[in-house]
Amino acid sequence: MQQSGGSEMEVTWEDQQNINRFSKLNNRFHELEDEIRIAKETNDNLEDASNELILTDEEVVRFQIGEVFAHVPKDEVESRIEDMKEVTTKNLEKLEEEKDSVLAQMAELKKILYGKFRDSINLEED
């Protein structure tokens, strides 16, 4: 069995902190994936809405604000949807950036921990 290596090696406080940091980053990574998925869905919905808006020929469109639908003139609806799309795109970019940085930090920590513990530690997803 290869576990004999594990009981001979000392685990220092620094190693413990690295393991904790890796666990925090892993959790944050999964949260980010969910948030990115939701942001992409919202973006797609806004795209569809603006496409529908172009096709429609009504002058006054019912635009949802909270739980209320307000009669809003078509131009205003267009500009509102444009603004919302900008906000969600910027949000999506920020989330993607954070995800990339989290992945980079996780790769660094993996290198360090695997270097010290080789087989005695498992850092992969199940």
């Binding site: 069995m1 576990q3 004999s4 594990g6 009981s7 001979e8 685990v11 413990q16 393991i19 904790n20 666990s23 925090k24 959790n27 019912r62 604000i65 909270g66 739980e67 209320v68 639908f69 307000a70 009669h71 005695s120």
Partner: protein
């Protein structure tokens, strides 16, 4: 040469002393080993469970807050729209028929709002206050910021908890591995003894 050092504290014993040690003292050594096992593994696991309970509570609080945030933002939106329409006269909108039973949530009816001077805000605990539009915006903004701040605090707490759970888990794994290692040494030593 068979290894006579099975437990770390046996370093104090003279080499080979265990073979002519009184059985009672040998029993005490085994007992001390068992106590260490109980303390580190069993109680460590129980501690992890306590942490898990607190983590569940914090996660539920976080979910609630994350649901409250978009609500507050929507309210801000509506108030802002009302303020914006102040100049252009009336606002025509479709509002939900919120009946007392709250079963009829998807029925809508036409409503014309002419007075955009004040809004009523539901403050919870069966209290609703009328505010002017500006005051309402200020209040909702403050609520939004408070909610965001408490969410940050919650996230920090959750991270701390996860660290506290990881440390005992790693320690338990190390104790277990050490025990396996010792058993293997003992078994490796015993056949050599017999021969």
């Amino acid at each position: 040469m068979l290894p006579s050092r099975h437990y770390p504290w046996e370093f104090a014993l003279v080499e080979g002393a265990k073979s002519y040690m009184h059985p009672m003292y040998r029993g005490l050594l085994h007992l001390s080993y068992w106590i260490m096992w109980v303390v580190l593994v069993v109680i460590g696991r129980m501690g992890c469970q306590q942490y898990k309970l607190v983590e569940m509570k914090l996660l539920a609080q976080q979910r609630d807050l994350q649901a409250k945030l978009p609500d507050i933002e929507k309210c801000l939106d509506i108030v802002a729209t009302l303020q914006g329409k102040k100049g252009s006269g009336e606002v025509r909108c479709l509002t939900q028929l919120i009946l007392l039973t709250t079963l009829r949530r998807h029925i809508y009816s036409r409503a014309q709002i002419e007075n955009t001077e004040s809004v009523c805000l539901w403050l919870g605990a069966n209290v609703m206050l009328e505010y002017s539009c500006e005051e309402a915006t200020v209040l909702l903004q403050k609520n939004l910021e408070n909610a965001r701040a408490s969410l940050e605090v919650l996230v920090a707490d959750l991270q701390f908890l996860r660290d506290q759970v990881t440390i005992p888990q790693v320690t338990i794994a190390r104790v277990y591995n050490w025990d396996v290692h010792q058993k293997r040494i003992r078994q490796g030593g015993a056949p050599a003894k017999d021969s």
